[in-house]
Amino acid sequence: MDTVKLTIDNKQVEVKAGTTIYQAAKDAGIDIPVLCYMNLHDMGIENKPAGCRICVVEVEGRKNLAPSCSTPCQDGMEVKTNTVRVLNARKTVLEFILSDHPKDCLICPKSGDCELQDLAIKLGIRNIPGEDIAEVSTYRLDTSPSIIRDLDKCIMCRRCETMCNDIQTVGALSAINRGFRAVVAPAFEQNLEHSSCTYCGQCVAVCPTGALTEADHTNEVLRHLANPAKTVVVQTAPAVRAALGEEFSMRPGTLVTGKMVAALRQLGFDYVFDTDFAADLTIMEEGTELLRRLSAHIDGDKNVKLPILTSCCPGWVNFFETYFPDLKDIPSSARSPQQMFGTIAKTYFAGKKNIKREDMVVVSVMPCLAKKYECQREEFSSNGNPDVDLSISTRELAAFIRQANIDFRSLGEESFDNPLGESSGAGVIFGTTGGVIEAAVRTAYEMYTGKTLERVDFEELRGMEGVREASIDFDGLELNIGIAHGLGNARKLLDDIRSGKSKYHAIEIMACPGGCIGGGGQPRHHGKSEILKARASALYLEDRNKAIRKSHENPFIRELYSSFLGRPNSGKAHNLLHTGYFDKKKKIIVKQ
């Protein structure tokens, strides 16, 4: 391995050739501030346009200051990160950035979690020279069901663009205009709603400022909770419990399931249920569909579509509806767990409790921003009454808990209500990449072979590789499984299917890198991929600790089928738990 030797702030450093000055300094305990730079190295996600110029350093013999994030170390380099020249330049550049930024920190949704604010604190900015004569660039506020774009706060770090184009290959966001008017926006400054945006929320997840935030629904939730005529039911997605603690300074990967349930009860929800229950239900429906298609295929049916694709991720659904509408009969028709929960709550459960549909409000807590859009889709409502009324993110729930004066860390552990609160371990791992397909395999194996599955943990399906594959032996039948997380990776598998080259029987796709644990509604990872890994481990731990680890063994699921739905994929199940897909190309407007 080639190494280079250099000095940084008079420290002797030896690093691998190609290492950036920023990384070399960091390894040597010198923390050069960065703003636009972001590197989730384990996930292959890197953003270094070298545009903010905050990380500049002095390199002996070089005419100008060098951006440390994108300047490779060279042998014999003498780097200074804190000379008067550097400090003055860094401060002046930050003053430039702040001079074109609203000063409404007090009421900004990102206040306290803003990298620009942190930097202003770190560099001790106390005034912005020339503020009185400085024009501030302003843009039209763009609100969509999931994402709010307040581009007055955009600092052109281009992280969102990297996520949207390079990682997700969605291509909704790119830099437009020149000079002072340059900003990141959909083509021709259309609203997100008329772009190819899938609402995956990865742009929001990486935005360092308040330019990209979620559409906040906490106030509406509060209004429903305050209304005694309403029965308010809440469901929590699996990935939420693995990340919510971070908002309360708990170590990443801390499972807070019990505290979360306690908090939700204190907030006044009438029933605290678990989306994991609906995940088990999804497995019953999707697994049955898989086996049906698979058997038909084995029996020589040429019309049967394989591979089957999972359909629980709404960002992914939006993606294929936009980019692969010709393949829209390939994904499973099973609705997502959020929506399955909504219909079951408003039919089965409401019936049981004698609550009128209009008097029940279903709220979901999701790691996801696309869920906000999903619950507004017309097909998921009955006479204008949505199956899921409101979806809030993990971050919104945390803010809600803080507002309600709840000391989250000292809460005791409580359990979900029944009947929609019990889940298997299979439902839990839905929250991480590979989890849905592992859950499906556990059930499908037993359904298909009629034998008991002894080995429940499928390590071969786990991990953080962007595209993974495995073959599972179904008692003589080799089931080929593909897994992709991140829409760019999904695109690769979809292109193969389109060109007839795919060898898989089933493919799991999640829109966000890492799966739901890395969702656009989760506490911000601030570029630390170890946080995502810790969250995934937490879900696998919860799975291991569960008494029941296969969806079809969940007694409440069995009860639901025997007393209400009949059997998986029955006519009633089809009406309530399945859906169809649409060509979304039409909604895109690409003219000025």
């Binding site: 545009g51 100008n64 330049a89 550049v93 001079s99 024009e135 020149r178």
Partner: protein, 489 residues
């Protein structure tokens, strides 16, 4: 050499002497002979050595040794390589490249083929701004004619060397003259520069080694091979060889293109070739290097023009714009004018250029309006130095030059603006005061009637007065007065 003759037409050798749409006329004047010689008689390394020995440096502004650039591109092995001609001439008032392309397109085509042979490229691209329709038309004609003769295309002159050229059009973004931005633009991406390294010679167009040269640089190449590196390197100064074409503009009598050997003084260019200042006014400054250059003064007039001397004097060669200013030009306004251009033309990628230049412009405007103070001058310098030190590409790194050079060379004028609230050149409206000379005023009331804000009062047939607090300095009264009674102070 005749002492009085200062110009040497090397780049412009054929401009005006051949029909650019008739390849035979170009060939009659030796077009493609250098290419023929290189591809039949020389090894690429030999040819690169000649370019290196000639001392030719890039004429687009950077001044990087051309031979060295070719050598880098040659040494980077790849299945495909590209030669790019940068014809995105964007400096306001500059038209050297346009004239070469309109008058002698074959010189550029020939040079690109030589370069391609040297670095091992098979494809050439000319990135030309769409605002040059005539140059585009002539280039297309020239390329088509060269193809017919087999001077472009497969197996050129039976040597087995193949090379062809396509055009790519720029949409008028100044920053696309920066080579990495130019390459992104050709790839269909946003015209934005990226950090170097990697240099285009390693990873350029579609990630392949790419050599980008400016039109004027390329136009020198055939001459270097026909006359020899030694001949070429005898022209010019120690570190800047050959000639330079300037687009002479501003308050000078003979506006136009000028080609002089490197080392010619500014005085010779402005006063001898340029015929001196218009209307016998006094020379004040000359701005070289386009919007990113600086303003030089009387004391620099005898400096021999070359890459290094101009930088030392606080300006730069740039692509060859040269704008002459006289005593009626306000240097603060001049700096503001150039900043206005860079603010418009910044791509917006890096913060110092996107926001910093805007702030520089605003502060200059503030000073021109008479609202500046001494602290503003310090701030102007600090902002300029930081932008220069931190901006991503050449555009931002040089955009504060007009401010810094005027601060250095015309500090008195800045002081007059902020301390005395006066514009010595009488250009800044905000600092003007209109005044009625009592003796000349006959009280005709014409001025009072034309004043849009009713700032002028007075009895009929009595001298009038201008209320300074109301006056918006539009100048309508002065225009109307038939008795020369209204003056600016």
């Amino acid at each position: 050499m005749d002492k009085k003759i200062k110009q040497l037409r090397l780049v412009l050798r054929n401009c005006g002497f051949i029909d650019p749409e008739n390849i035979d006329e170009a060939i009659a004047r030796d077009a493609y002979l250098s290419m023929g010689k290189v591809i039949t008689e020389m090894h690429p390394a030999e040819a690169i050595k000649i370019v290196k020995e000639s001392g030719l440096r890039g004429r687009g502004g950077g001044g990087f040794p051309t031979g060295l650039k070719w050598e880098f591109a040659c040494n980077n092995k790849a299945d495909r390589k590209y030669v790019v001609c940068n014809a995105d001439e964007g400096d306001p008032g500059a038209f050297m490249d346009r004239s070469v392309l309109e008058g002698d397109p074959h010189s550029v085509i020939e040079a690109m083929a030589i370069c391609a042979y040297c670095i091992g490229a098979g494809e050439g691209l000319i990135y030309i701004r769409a605002e040059y329709p005539l140059a585009i038309k002539r280039l297309k004609t020239a390329i088509a004619q060269a193809r017919e003769y087999g001077l472009l295309g497969k197996n050129i002159l039976g040597t087995g060397f193949s090379f062809d050229i396509e055009l790519r059009y720029g949409a008028g973004a100044f920053v696309c003259g920066e080579e990495t931005a130019l390459i992104h633009s050709m790839e269909g991406l946003r015209g934005e520069p990226t950090v170097k390294p990697p240099f285009p010679a390693e990873s350029g167009y579609h990630g392949k080694p790419t050599n980008v040269n400016n039109v004027e640089t390329l136009a020198c190449i055939p001459v270097i091979f026909s006359k020899g590196a030694d001949w070429f390197s005898k022209i010019g100064t120690e570190r800047s060889k050959g000639t330079k074409v300037f687009a002479l503009a501003g308050k000078v009598n003979n506006v136009g293109l000028v080609e002089v050997p490197m080392g010619t003084s500014l005085r010779e260019v402005i006063f001898e070739i340029g015929g001196g200042i218009n209307n016998d006014r006094k020379f004040k400054a000359v701005q070289t290097g386009g919007p990113s250059g600086g303003c030089l003064t009387e004391e620099h007039l005898d400096t021999p023009i070359d890459f290094d001397n101009l930088i030392e004097a606080g300006s730069m060669m740039g692509s060859g714009g040269m704008i002459v200013m006289d005593e009626d030009d306000c240097m603060v306004s001049v700096a503001k004018f150039y900043l206005d251009f860079t603010v418009e033309e910044s791509c917006g990628k890096c913060a110092p250029c996107r926001i910093g230049n805007k702030r520089l412009y605003e502060l200059l405007d503030h000073i021109c309006k008479g609202k500046g103070d001494m602290a503003d001058l310090d701030r102007l310098r600090n902002m300029s130095e930081v932008i220069k030190d931190t901006a991503l590409c050449g555009l931002g790194q040089t955009s504060p030059n007009p401010v810094l050079s005027t601060l250095d060379n015309f500090y008195d004028e800045y002081l007059a603006h902020v301390m005395d609230k006066k514009c010595p050149a009488g250009q800044c409206r905000g600092l003007m005061e209109f005044f009625i000379i009592e003796e000349n005023c006959v009280g005709c009331t014409a001025c009072a009637r034309v004043c849009p804000v009713n700032a002028i009062a007075g009895e009929r047939k009595e001298p009038h007065k201008i209320n300074k607090g109301i006056c918006i300095k539009c100048g309508a009264c002065m225009e109307k007065c038939k008795f020369d009674a209204i003056i600016i102070q």
